[in-house]
C-alpha cells in the first residue's frame, strides 16, 4: 500500500557516529589562558561569537572557563568583539 509507513526496530544511525568529547577534559587542561587569542579563536565562529557547547562538545565546566577567557581577551583587545572574517 502507498500509505504504509516504513518502521524500524531501532532508531537509524544518522549523524550519531562521530563521538563527541570535551577537548579540554581529554587533554587534561586545568586552566584556559586568556592571553592566547590564537587558541581561543578555535572556539569562535567567523563573526567572533563564542560557539555553543552543542557544536564544540566542550563540557559545561570548561565552557564556562573558556567563555570567561574569551571575554577577558576581548576586553584587552586581543580578540575582536565583532569581526567579519575570522578563522
Amino acid at each position: 500500500m502507498a500509505d504504509k509507513k516504513v518502521r524500524y526496530l531501532k532508531s537509524i544511525e544518522i549523524d550519531t557516529k562521530a563521538e563527541r568529547y570535551c577537548r579540554f577534559r581529554k587533554k587534561g587542561f586545568k586552566y584556559i589562558d586568556y592571553k592566547d587569542p590564537d587558541f581561543l579563536l578555535m572556539l569562535c565562529n567567523p563573526q567572533g561569537k563564542i560557539l555553543p557547547r552543542r557544536l564544540t562538545g566542550t563540557s559545561l565546566k570548561y565552557q564556562r572557563k573558556a567563555s570567561q577567557a574569551i571575554k577577558k581577551a576581548r576586553h584587552l583587545a586581543l580578540m575582536p568583539y565583532v569581526a567579519d572574517n575570522l578563522n
Binding site: 586545568k30 586552566y31 589562558d33 586568556y34 592571553k35 587569542p37 577577558k72 576581548r74 576586553h75 584587552l76 583587545a77 586581543l78 580578540m79 575582536p80 568583539y81 565583532v82
Partner: protein, 136 residues
C-alpha cells in the same frame, strides 16, 4: 597574600623612556602598598583587535605580583586616573593559573639556556684558533 596578574595597555604615543617610566611607577606602587612583583613581561607594541580611544596599537605590559587584597583598589584607581593607560585588567590567580604561568616560564627559560651554551661552544674554537697564531 594573594597573587594577581595585571595586563595593561599604554598609548603608542609614548617614547621608550616614557614606557619604562610608566612601568616603574606601577612597580613602585605595588611595593608602596606592601606587595612585591613576582614576574614581568613586556609584550611591546602590539596591534589592537579594535581601536581604543582612536588608537590602533598599544604597548602591552604584564605584571605578576603578590599583595594583600586591599592593595588592588588603590592600584586600579591609579590606572583609571592615568591618561597614558588605554586598558587594564587585573585577575586574581588561582592555583591552576599560577601553575600554568610558572610552567610556561620554565619552558621559556629552558629554551633560552641552550642558546647560551651554543654561544660558548662557538667562542671556544675561536680562542683555540687564535692561540696557535700567537705561538707562531
Amino acid at each position: 597574600m594573594n597573587r594577581y596578574e595585571t595586563v595593561f595597555i599604554m598609548t603608542p604615543v609614548l617614547s621608550a623612556d616614557q614606557v619604562t617610566e610608566t612601568v616603574e611607577k606601577y612597580r613602585a606602587l605595588i611595593i608602596a602598598n606592601g606587595g612585591k612583583t613576582v614576574h614581568e613581561d613586556a609584550w611591546g607594541l602590539r596591534k589592537l583587535a579594535y581601536p581604543i580611544q582612536k588608537k590602533s596599537t598599544g604597548f602591552y605590559h604584564l605584571i605578576e605580583w603578590e599583595a594583600e587584597g586591599s592593595a588592588v583598589l588603590p592600584f586600579e584607581t591609579e590606572f583609571r586616573r592615568d591618561e597614558r593607560i588605554l586598558r587594564f585588567l587585573t585577575t586574581a590567580m588561582e592555583k591552576h593559573h599560577i601553575a600554568y604561568a610558572e610552567s610556561r616560564r620554565d619552558k621559556s627559560n629552558r629554551k633560552a639556556e641552550p642558546k647560551q651554551e651554543a654561544e660558548v661552544v662557538v667562542e671556544m674554537p675561536a680562542k683555540e684558533a687564535s692561540t696557535p697564531e700567537e705561538k707562531a
